[in-house]
Amino acid sequence: MRLLEVEDLHVEFAARGLDNRVRVARALNGVSFTVDAGEVVGLVGETGAGKSLTALAAMGLLRAPARIPQGSIRFEGQDILAMSDRELEKIRGRRMAMVVQSPLTSLDPLKRIGDQLVRMQRVHGTARGAEARARAEAMLAAVRIPDPARRMQAWPHELSGGMAQRVLIAMALVNEPALVIADEPTTGLDVTVQAQVLDTLRDLVRARNLGALVITHDLGVVAHYCQRVAVMFAGRIVEDGPVAEVFARPAHPYTQALIASTPGRIAQLGYTVTGGTPPDLYDLPSGCLYRDRCPRATTACLAPPPRIALDATHGAACHYAWEAA
């Protein structure tokens, strides 16, 4: 079942510069992807590629000065962009929940963990009172927090980063949503804790047949936990497909560079890694945005590349996708 369907999403920011001229940063430039029930999709890319922005847009959380001039977001068949704040509040945290980064500062510092889990249920009308407390405790146990009855009484500042992240997962799942969006859920955690937290998340998502969108810059996370992956660059999805496919036959030079820059892979694969920075979002070049960094670029790349389907599920936005694959 299709949960989330993002199509040709554009997001821009209008900012007034010091010279008082309004400049527009084009942060997303046509993002399309889908998440189905029971599927974990990875959204991967470098900082500033627009991963988190895509997640915020999907949750209906974008506020001025962000604008959506073009594109559509559908969740469970409903048009997110056409919804009022009131309607969005009923979906967020209920049907579609988010696990954010920086868990320690995201929990309400003045409320005990148990009370926050109960509030999450009460606000959305899923449970209240003793029932909500029981479910909160069961949820803490499900995210493998030891001694959940005692942890219900803990304050957020008494938790470690890994514990707090587990609490956020519990918060996200306590209302039994259909879709979980995890925005770099393990940034700032120790590597061993990262794996534990992600294992927990994956097991719960699997057991409940949820859809999940995992945002990360870590290809290792994608390889381990996702079935499909979408690679983002400069506000565009440059390649998407099943994880095994994309890793085995990356078709876009940016994907190849990403894979090649994984430590220990460079010599093995023989791809060329190019340096450089993402293009200036205030002054996007026409044509392929990766052109300046691409070892393969030709005059054909002055025209915007279409998504070239390599097979039914794997595609890349590159004029030379066929050659590379």
Partner: protein, 336 residues
């Protein structure tokens, strides 16, 4: 940590602070070029008489000896004699302090009741029209010198319009003041069932409290706004939005989070206005501690100045301890 242990610790920490403040004040008044002896003795006094008075006041002894003498008497509850009123400093403080407390408490109370909601409202839409207006207003309140505000208020409301009573103290001279119970003339008159005195005391309060409240409100608006904006931009408010909490729930979380820093600020505002009260008291002939302390400074009344500064310092210590106690109750992180 238990509350008694907390208070005991605060008390212990306060002792060196108060000693330091006392030492500085003691030395500062004596380093100045004021000679209280000449002032006390009058213009007719000759050299032997000046020397005698100097010896009587022990001003001829080394500074540290004088300070030690002052401390030993202080421990016994004796703050020395005020030369201007020829009365014990402790007694003078006891008579003057309630007037100042009444003025400052009302002003800060009004400041908090008006300033906190305005600041919160301004923070709802940063740079919106209300925010701009309140920022202009609080800048206005910041920039006005208290005494000028007081003088203008007297000029307009007493002299021109005749709405306010003469700015001469806390109760009209035509009225028999009530017996002193709490020290606040208004409360004492109500306790004594003296309606006429209560009315007079209340009308005397309006102008000085009004002027002082303007001074108190401005920074409270400004800080509440800054605190609220910071809270609204915090991770946990953004997370609350991502959780789909409706506006009223988010507002409650934000209010609760802003409460502690706002209370802390209002507490520190109280202590600084306690000291700043002297000018407005002077303008309205209020006869409070600030008025008395200012006179003491002008006249070189050493013991009185020391007593004045010590009282302010003790008041600050008490208020900050109270604020910390409230914070301790409201903020789980502070209990850790």
């Amino acid at each position: 940590m238990s509350i008694t242990r907390f208070l005991l610790r605060r008390l212990l920490v306060a002792v060196p602070v108060l000693l330091g403040i006392l030492f500085l004040t003691f030395m500062l008044v004596r380093i100045g070029d004021q000679d209280p002896v000449a002032m006390l003795a009058g213009p007719m006094a000759d050299a032997p008489m000046l020397a005698r008075i100097r010896a009587e006041l022990m001003l001829d002894q080394p500074l540290l000896t004088q300070f030690w003498g002052y401390l030993t008497r202080l421990v016994q509850g004796d703050l020395g004699m005020s030369w201007q009123g020829n009365a014990a400093v402790t007694k003078e403080i006891a008579t003057h302090l309630p007037a100042t407390l009444e003025l400052v408490t009302l002003a800060v109370g009004i400041g908090a009741l008006v300033g906190v909601p305005l600041g919160l409202h301004a923070a709802e839409r940063p740079n919106g029209w209300f925010d701009q207006l309140s920022r202009f207003g609080s800048l206005f309140g910041f920039s006005l010198p208290t005494y000028w505000l007081g003088l203008m208020a007297i000029f307009v409301f007493f002299f021109l319009l005749g709405w306010a009573p003469a700015p001469m103290g806390r109760v009209s001279m035509m009225v028999t003041p009530p017996p002193v119970v709490t020290g606040s003339v208004l409360i004492d008159s109500i306790l004594a069932g003296n309606g006429e005195a209560a009315w007079s005391a209340a009308s005397q309060l309006v102008l000085p409290v009004g002027c002082f409240a303007i001074v108190a409100t401005a920074p409270i608006i400004k800080h509440t706004r800054a605190i609220a904006i910071e809270v609204m931009g915090s991770d946990y408010i953004r997370y609350a939005r991502a959780c789909g909490f409706p506006r009223r729930v988010i507002r409650r979380i934000a209010l609760r989070a802003a409460l502690v820093p706002v209370i802390t600020f209002v507490g520190s505002e109280f202590t600084s206005l306690l000291a700043a009260a002297s000018l407005i008291e002077f303008v309205f002939a209020w006869g409070g501690l600030g008025h008395w302390g200012l006179n003491a400074i002008l006249l070189g009344d050493f013991a009185a100045v020391q007593g004045y500064v010590l009282t302010l310092a003790i008041a600050s210590v008490i208020i900050f301890a109270l604020v910390d106690l409230i914070v301790l109750l409201l903020e789980p992180r502070a209990r850790a």
